[in-house]
């Protein structure tokens, strides 16, 4: 007789129509599906690995690597070093090319981005054409072009192009004089440190004085004198305790000097130019995001164009620029893994390439590689979130 009873409280629905129960059911179903997939993958992997006679676990980390790496920032030898050591060599090479790439891409990107905003019609059109062309070509194509069509097409060792000052370029790379520091050079470093510390102190003092009295100090000139002039003066006083070892061309090899591999140069060129095109767009968008009223207000307060740029436009533009700029830096770091296509020994080429082929331990090797990139990406986005919270506009 329940159908006769007067309804009390909310209308009753069948339990399978209750949103809460449905939601729990869907989530359980999803978790079950994921668990089933993972279980299936793991049990298949165990079976497949056992059949192929491949070891598992991270025991290979301490085994001798037995292969050579063409560029090592830390000591490494094919006979004595382990796979673990090879991993660190690769990681450092990745960080080296990514770090330098970020510096060059930022400089070039800001130049191109600001050129696009220039009043000069020709300059802005050429900058626009550069951005459109570079952004619409695959990075891999650009890397192969720089490596195979430009750097590998240079003359061989006997016909090296000589750079004034003792360097040379050929299809084996760029060879530069290596500075060798003699006794007494450490005083120059001390002078440099003093110069840097002195300029920071002077900057703080000048700023405080300006806030107090409104008088400006020639900060740029003093900093230049302290940071560059002082070490140079000490260098001259000590009688130039510095010599260079010049690269000497033999029949087949070059001895002495610093060697920059063509693989490294191609990767650095390609990454810097490609990312610069994206950074240029970020910079342009950031500057355009500062409304014109801000500049007009600054002019009406009597600020000159240069202080307007420095005090009003740049700080507000940076707020817009920095988050996408960071994601471009991350993209550059991730894109450096394309090194594998031209044979630069980065993390992917050394570890996911050679080590994987030698050990066959695909799961462990790929997992470690991914973990490295994940740590870099996630820690950067964490820092970005903190930064965003700090610079976010405080609204009423």
């Amino acid at each position: 007789m329940s159908s006769d009873s007067t309804p009390s409280g909310p209308a009753r629905v069948a339990f399978y129509n209750d949103p809460k129960i449905r939601s729990i059911f869907y989530q359980l179903a999803l978790l079950a599906a994921i668990a089933f997939l993972v279980y299936g993958a793991v049990s298949n992997a165990i079976e497949n690995l056992a059949r192929a006679n491949i070891a598992s676990g991270f025991g290979f980390w301490n085994n001798t690597a037995g292969f050579d790496i063409s560029q090592t920032l830390i000591s490494y030898s094919s006979q004595a070093s382990t796979y673990g050591r090879a991993f660190w060599v690769g990681l450092l090479n990745t960080l080296l090319v990514a770090g330098l790439g970020i510096v060059f891409a930022t400089i070039l990107g800001f130049i191109v981005g600001l050129s696009r905003l220039s009043k000069n019609w020709l300059l802005s059109k050429v900058a626009g054409g550069f951005v459109e062309t570079i952004r619409n070509l695959p990075l891999l194509l650009q890397l192969l072009f720089w490596y195979n069509a430009v750097l590998k097409a240079l003359p061989d060792i006997r016909d090296s192009i000589v750079i004034p000052g003792g360097g040379m370029i050929n299809n084996r790379g760029l060879f530069l004089p290596r500075p060798e520091f003699l006794y007494g050079f450490e005083m120059v470093l001390v002078a440099l440190a003093v110069g840097v510390a002195g300029s920071i102190g002077f900057y703080i003092w000048a700023r405080k004085r300006q806030e107090r009295t409104g008088q400006q100090a020639p900060v740029a000139a003093v900093v230049l004198a302290l940071v560059i002039g002082l070490p140079l003066a000490v260098l001259a006083l000590k009688g130039f305790p510095l010599s260079f070892s010049y690269p000497q061309a033999g029949r087949f090899n070059i001895a002495g000097g610093v060697e920059i591999l063509p693989e490294f140069a191609a990767l650095l060129f390609g990454l810097s130019i490609y990312t610069a095109a994206f950074i240029a767009e970020v910079v342009r968008a950031g500057v355009l995001a500062v409304s014109h009223g801000q500049v007009e207000a600054a002019y009406s307060l009597g600020l000159q164009p240069r202080p307007t740029l420095r005090l009003i436009v740049v700080p507000q533009a940076m707020r817009v620029i920095i988050p996408p700029l960071t994601s471009q830096y991350l993209n550059l770091t991730k894109n450096s893994s394309l090194a594998v296509a031209i044979g630069y020994p980065d993390l992917v080429q050394v570890f996911t390439g050679t080590v994987l082929n030698q050990t066959g331990q695909a799961v462990e090797v790929v997992a470690i590689t991914m973990l490295v990139y994940l740590v870099i990406s996630l820690s950067t986005s964490l820092l970005m979130n903190i930064y965003n919270r700090r610079v976010a506009l405080v609204e009423r």
Binding site: L30, W121, L122, P138, L139, V348, M370, L374
Partner: protein, 388 residues
């Protein structure tokens, strides 16, 4: 009088002028080509220098391109001797006979010559679908979507890989190559990533914690690692994770990698669109009694996707460029067929590599530029419809 004395006292302050400046001369002309030239190219000494430098750079690059691609280019020949400076005794530009000879290889890879008409039909079907979907005044664009997202994938799969029962010879994917593979990888990425990306974006904004967490973990994981490692994972780990007899072939593995990678990026693009919807749209839909899927399908997604179209196309451009990375796991896409051909001894000459890369550059530039123009035009069209 006291007032004006007060004014004079103000005028004594160092930075306030006490004399009237002479009026400025009227400008010679404010309009016309000369004024434009003076204003936009020659306004300051720095600008004059810039204009000359950039003009010289532009002229040099333009001349070098024209010289390489046209003026000094070789148009006929049978082997490398036609393109070598030592043999021809003149400056040599692009080696076009190399491209003519390899054009079929660049387009079809090693696809059997007698079956290449099937690839042509595939290209035609795809082109027809794109035109149908993208031209604004085409009839029945809903049918076009069904055609593009269901009929084309199914028929082209049968067409390209073959089906003995209807008399189409089976063609192993290891024989596919060139533009065919590039287009197949890009279209699978495009067709799969949008629906999967929408699902992931909805999952990330879902109220159910398990669904939300699963989506976030997937999206952030994929976006945090380079595509190369995803492809490595797909090509070396995927075969481990499935029973041996089901092991997918190389091309399928790469397709899985590309599709998953593109979906994660698409999810973030769609999520941005969903977030731009005002809350009133959700509440309005619920108020008229729509369920979750009805609300999404009829109210939210049509509006959210519309404002996201430019970003979706930009993601597609990225995906199209990223298809070159299948090269690294040993699949013969356009770039790899060029890479293999340029070191062929028959055509080995100093200019061969650059010629090959020039062909690839033109191909990618045309496709990506067309897509970015479409995104730009759509953006302008949508902005226009918002104006009242």
């Amino acid at each position: 009088m006291t007032m004006s004395e007060g004014d004079l006292a103000v005028a004594k302050i160092a930075f306030v002028r006490d004399t009237v400046i002479d009026p400025r001369k009227p400008p010679i002309s404010m309009t016309g080509p000369w004024a434009w030239l003076r204003e936009r190219l020659l306004s300051t000494p720095f600008n004059v220098v810039m204009t000359i430098l950039v003009g010289a750079l532009l002229a040099w690059v333009g001349y070098e391109l024209a010289r390489f691609l046209l003026i000094d280019a070789v148009w006929t020949g049978v082997d490398r001797d036609a393109c070598r400076e030592e043999v021809q005794q003149r400056a040599i530009g692009a080696c076009w006979p190399f491209v003519w000879e390899r054009l079929n290889y660049f387009t079809y890879g090693s696809y059997p010559i007698s079956e290449r008409w099937r690839v042509d039909i595939f290209f035609a079907m795809l082109a027809f679908g794109v035109v149908w979907l993208l031209s604004l005044n085409a009839p029945r664009r809903d049918l076009g979507a069904a055609y593009f997202f269901i009929i084309v994938p199914v028929t082209s799969f049968i067409l390209l890989s073959g089906w003995e029962a209807i008399g189409l010879r089976t063609v192993d994917t290891s024989l596919w190559g060139g533009v065919l593979v590039t287009i197949v990888v890009a279209s699978v990425g495009i067709v799969v990533s949008l629906p999967l990306g929408i699902l992931l974006a909805l999952g990330r904004r879902s109220d159910m914690p398990a669904v939300r967490m699963a989506s976030i973990v997937f999206i952030e994981f994929v976006r945090g690692v380079p595509l190369v490692t995803v492809l490595f994972m797909a090509s070396v780990m995927l075969p481990l994770f499935v029973p041996e007899h089901l092991s997918p072939d190389k091309l399928v593995r790469a397709l899985v990698g590309i599709a998953l990678f593109a979906s994660a990026y698409m999810a973030e693009v769609v999520r941005a669109g969903l977030q731009s919807m005002p809350k009133g749209q959700y509440e309005g839909a619920m108020a008229v009694g729509l369920g979750y899927w009805q609300m999404m399908r009829l109210i939210i997604l049509p509006q959210a996707l519309k404002v996201t179209i430019p970003n979706i196309v930009n993601t597609y451009i990225g995906l199209f460029k990223d298809t070159t990375l299948v090269f690294i796991v040993g699949i013969f896409d356009l770039l790899r067929t060029i890479e293999v051909s340029r070191i062929d001894p028959k055509w080995a000459a100093p200019v061969t590599s650059t010629t090959g890369y020039a062909v690839a550059a033109i191909f990618y530039l045309v496709f990506c530029y067309a897509m970015s123009r479409y995104a730009r035009v759509t953006e302008e069209r949508l902005a226009k419809s918002d104006k009242r």
